[in-house]
C-alpha cells in the first residue's frame, strides 16, 4: 500500500510536470501575442507595449518565462495581466460560485441515476426500461445550449420567475424567505442542466453493471435457495454492482473546474468556467494556465483517490 502510494505520487508529479510544459507551450506558441490584443487602442503606444512586455517577462525566451510563471504560481504571486489582481484570489472568488452548481448538480446526478438505472435493470426489456433508455440517449444527444433555451422558455413562461444570473438584482430589502426562494430558482435550472448528461450516462452505466451482476452464479444461487426477490436485488446484486462506482467518486473531482463554460455563459453565472472563457478571449495567460494547472491537479488527485478507494473496497485488487 505504502509503496503504491509512493510510486504513484512520483508518477503523478512527473505527469504534472509534462502537463505544465505542454499547456505552457500550447498557449505561448499560438500565433499572436497578448500585447497585441488591442492594437487600435490609441493609448497603446509602442512604449506601452514595450513596458507591458517587460513587466510580464514577455521579452524573455520561453524557458525563462516558464520558470518565472511557475515560480510565481507556487509562491502565490501570479497576477492577472488584465487587472493586476492576484489570480488565486480571483479563482477562489469564482470557485465559490461554481461550487454551488457543482454540489447541487452532483447530488442530483447521483441520487437520480441510481434508482433509474437499477429499476431498468430489474425490469429489463419492459416499457420502463425501453423508455428510460430512449430518454437517456435523448439527453446525451441534445445540444446543451438548445436544451437550456427550451427549459428557460418553459420555466419563465409557466412559473414567471427570473432565472438568469445568480440572484435577482435589487433583492436587498426583501424578507429572507423570498431571498432564499430567489436563490433556489436561480440555482435550479443551471444545476439541472449540468446534471442531465451525468444522469443519462450514469444511469446507463448502473443498468449495465446491474445486469452484469444479475447474470452471475451467486445471484442464481440466492434465487434458487429461496431468498426473496427484493433481497436478491438489493443485497446480493446491488452491493456487488456498486463496486466500480466507488471509484467514480474520485473521478467527479475534475468536474469542479472543467464544468460548464456554456451553461455559465447562458445563465450569466459568475463561475470558473466563464472566467476561464473570458480569460481565453482576452489572452490573459496567467488565468488560463492556472485554471489548467489546477484542473490537471484535480484529475490526478481524483484518479489517485479512485485507485486507493478501489484497493480499500475490493480486496482482490493489489496494485
Amino acid at each position: 500500500m505504502l509503496s503504491f502510494i509512493a510510486r504513484s505520487s512520483i508518477q503523478k508529479i512527473i505527469t504534472l510536470f509534462f502537463v505544465s510544459v505542454v499547456s505552457f507551450l500550447v498557449i505561448h506558441l499560438a500565433p499572436g501575442e497578448p500585447s497585441q490584443v488591442d492594437p487600435l487602442n490609441p493609448k497603446f503606444t509602442p512604449e506601452m507595449v514595450e513596458r507591458f512586455r517587460q513587466q510580464f517577462h514577455l521579452d524573455k525566451p520561453l524557458y525563462v518565462q516558464y520558470a518565472y510563471f511557475y515560480r510565481d504560481l507556487f509562491t502565490g504571486k501570479t497576477v492577472s495581466w488584465k487587472d493586476n489582481l492576484p489570480v488565486l484570489k480571483k479563482i477562489i472568488e469564482r470557485f465559490k460560485n461554481s461550487l454551488w452548481l457543482f454540489v447541487v448538480g452532483t447530488l442530483l446526478t447521483w441520487t437520480l441515476a441510481f434508482p433509474i438505472g437499477i429499476r431498468s435493470a430489474i425490469f429489463r426489456g419492459g416499457l420502463y426500461d425501453r423508455s428510460a433508455t430512449f430518454f437517456s440517449y435523448l439527453l446525451i444527444s441534445i445540444p446543451g445550449f438548445f436544451f437550456a433555451y427550451i427549459l428557460i422558455i418553459i420555466v419563465v413562461s409557466t412559473f414567471h420567475v427570473p432565472v438568469i444570473d445568480m440572484e435577482t438584482f435589487g433583492m436587498g430589502e426583501s424578507s429572507w424567505y423570498r431571498w432564499l426562494m430567489d436563490r433556489v430558482w436561480h440555482l435550479l435550472l443551471p444545476s439541472v442542466l449540468g446534471a442531465t448528461g451525468g444522469i443519462a450516462v450514469l444511469s446507463r452505466y448502473v443498468r449495465s453493471q446491474m445486469m452484469e451482476v444479475e447474470g452471475q452464479d451467486y445471484v442464481r444461487t440466492a434465487r434458487a435457495k429461496g431468498v426473496p426477490e427484493e433481497q436478491v436485488h438489493y443485497k446480493h446484486a446491488l452491493r456487488n454492482a456498486l463496486l466500480p462506482f466507488v471509484t467514480m467518486f474520485g473521478l467527479i473531482l475534475p468536474g469542479l473546474i472543467g464544468g460548464s463554460v456554456i451553461i455559465e455563459s447562458i445563465f450569466a453565472w459568475p463561475g470558473m468556467g466563464r472566467m476561464a472563457y473570458e480569460a481565453i478571449l482576452a489572452r490573459d495567460y496567467p488565468i488560463v494556465l492556472t485554471v489548467n494547472f489546477i484542473s490537471a491537479v484535480l484529475v490526478l488527485i481524483g484518479t489517485f483517490i479512485s485507485d486507493v478507494l478501489y484497493m480499500v473496497v475490493d480486496p482482490r485488487i493489489r496494485l
Binding site: 499560438a30 445540444p143 438548445f146 433555451y149 447474470g215 463554460v261
Partner: protein, 391 residues
C-alpha cells in the same frame, strides 16, 4: 442448376451442403442488428443524413445552385416556414426554389432550408474528419504500444531524445543556432544508433556504456503515460483555448477536435492488440515470416477494429455537438460556411420572434446526434460476441 454443379473430387459422397450454415459477415451483422429496433432506426437516419449532406453539397454549390444559401433578401427577413415570398418586390432571380420558404428565412432573409442542407455537409465533414484523425492516431499509437510495447527504451535513447527536445525548445524561443545544433545532434544519434546496431555486434563494455544502456522504461509505458498526460486536460476547455488562439478556420476546428480526442481509441486498440498478440493466428503468421507491418494491418487491425468503430460512431456524434457548442460561443466555423451550430447561435437572438431559427437546427442536431448514438450502441451489441450469446 443441379446439372451445373461440379462435384468436388475430395468431397465425401452424400454431403450436399456445407456443414456449417454459411452466412456472409454482412448478413450476420444485419440479422443481429435487426433485433435492436432503435439501432436500425439510427442506421436509417444516419444513411438519410449522409444522403442529404451529399445532396446538399451539390445542390448548394456552383455558380447557379438549385438552393442558394447566400442570397440576402433584407425585405423578406424572419419569414415563418412555408410562407411564400412576395413576388413583386423580389426580382425573379431571388425567388427561392418552389416559390416557397420551406423552413422560413433568417435575420438577413436567407433561406433557412438551403442553409440547413449546406450546413449538413459541413457538420458531417467536421465529424468525420475529426474522428478520422483521432482514429488514425489511435490505431497507430495503440498498435505500436500493443505490438512493440515490451521493447525497452534505453537510457542513451532517452538522453538523445531529451537533447533533441531541448533543441526544439531553444528553436521555439528563437535561439536558432544552438537549437538547431542540439536538435540535429539528438536525431543523428538516434538514427546512427540504429544503423550502428545492425553493423557492429558488440561494442566494448565500459562503465559508461553500461550506464547508458540501462533500460529506463518500455515503449508501452511511454505511450500510456503520454495518454495520461493528454487526459489531464479538460477536453472542452483545451479545444476552446486552442481554437480561440488560432485564426478561425473550419480546418483548424476539425484538426483540433481530432487531436484532442484520440486517447480513447488508443486505449481500445492497445487492449485489443495485447490480447491478440499471443493468439495462434498471429504466431502462425509470424512463423510464416510475414512482416510486422503486414501482421499489424492485415491480421490484427481487422480483429481489433470493432470497439474502435463503436467509439468512432459515438465520437462523430460528440464532434458534431462540440462544433455546435463552439459555434454557440462564437468560435466555430467562420461565416461563409453555414453550419447547424452557427445557424442556431445566430437564431438565438430571435428566439421569441422567430423560434424556427432555433428549433430547426436544434432539432436537426438532436436527431442526427441521437441516431449516431443509437447506431453506435447497437453496433456495440452486435460486435460484442459476449453480449450476443447471452441474449
Amino acid at each position: 442448376m443441379m446439372t451445373e454443379r461440379v462435384e468436388h473430387p475430395l468431397k465425401p459422397p452424400g454431403v450436399e451442403k456445407p456443414l456449417a450454415p454459411r452466412e456472409s459477415r454482412w448478413k450476420e451483422f444485419w440479422r443481429l442488428l435487426r433485433k435492436n429496433r432503435l439501432a436500425v432506426l439510427g442506421f436509417f437516419i444516419f444513411v438519410l443524413f449522409f444522403l442529404i449532406a451529399l445532396a446538399g453539397l451539390f445542390l448548394t454549390s456552383g455558380p447557379r445552385p438549385v438552393f442558394d444559401p447566400a442570397i440576402v433578401r433584407l425585405e423578406e427577413k424572419l419569414r415563418p416556414p412555408f410562407s411564400s415570398p412576395t413576388l413583386e418586390i423580389l426580382g425573379s432571380d431571388r425567388v427561392p426554389r418552389f416559390g416557397l420558404y420551406l423552413l422560413g428565412t433568417d435575420e438577413l432573409g436567407r433561406d433557412v432550408f438551403s442553409r440547413m442542407i449546406q450546413g449538413a455537409w459541413v457538420s458531417l465533414t467536421v465529424g468525420f474528419v475529426a474522428v478520422g484523425i483521432a482514429v488514425l492516431i489511435g490505431i497507430l499509437l495503440g498498435g505500436i504500444s500493443g505490438y512493440y510495447g515490451q521493447k525497452a527504451i534505453r537510457a542513451d535513447q532517452v538522453v538523445a531524445a531529451l537533447i533533441a527536445m531541448v533543441g526544439i525548445g531553444l528553436l521555439l524561443s528563437k535561439t536558432y543556432l544552438g537549437g538547431m545544433l542540439l536538435l540535429i545532434a539528438g536525431i543523428l544519434y538516434l538514427v546512427v544508433l540504429r544503423w550502428w546496431k545492425k553493423k557492429v555486434r558488440k561494442p566494448g563494455e565500459t562503465a559508461w556504456t553500461r550506464v547508458l544502456s540501462v533500460r529506463v522504461m518500455s515503449i508501452d509505458t511511454l505511450i500510456m503515460r503520454f495518454v495520461d498526460i493528454m487526459l489531464c486536460f479538460p477536453s472542452f476547455f483545451l479545444i476552446l483555448t486552442v481554437v480561440a488562439l488560432l485564426p478561425p478556420s473550419i480546418y483548424n476546428i476539425m484538426i483540433v477536435i481530432g487531436l484532442t480526442s484520440w486517447m480513447g481509441a488508443t486505449r481500445f486498440v492497445r487492449a485489443e492488440f495485447l490480447s491478440l498478440r499471443d493468439q495462434d493466428f498471429v504466431t502462425a503468421a509470424r512463423a510464416l515470416g510475414v512482416g510486422d507491418w503486414r501482421i499489424i494491418f492485415r491480421h490484427m487491425v481487422p480483429n481489433a477494429i470493432a470497439p474502435v468503430l463503436v467509439s468512432a460512431t459515438i465520437g462523430i456524434a460528440s464532434a458534431i455537438l462540440t462544433e455546435s457548442a463552439l459555434s454557440f460561443l462564437g468560435l466555430g466555423v467562420p461565416p461563409p460556411h453555414a453550419t447547424w451550430g452557427n445557424i442556431l447561435s445566430d437564431g438565438k437572438n430571435y428566439i421569441f420572434d422567430a423560434p424556427w431559427l432555433t428549433f430547426v437546427p436544434g432539432i436537426a442536431i438532436l436527431i442526427v446526434v441521437l441516431s449516431f448514438n443509437l447506431f453506435g450502441e447497437g453496433l456495440r451489441d452486435v460486435l460484442n460476441p459476449r453480449l450476443r450469446e447471452r441474449s
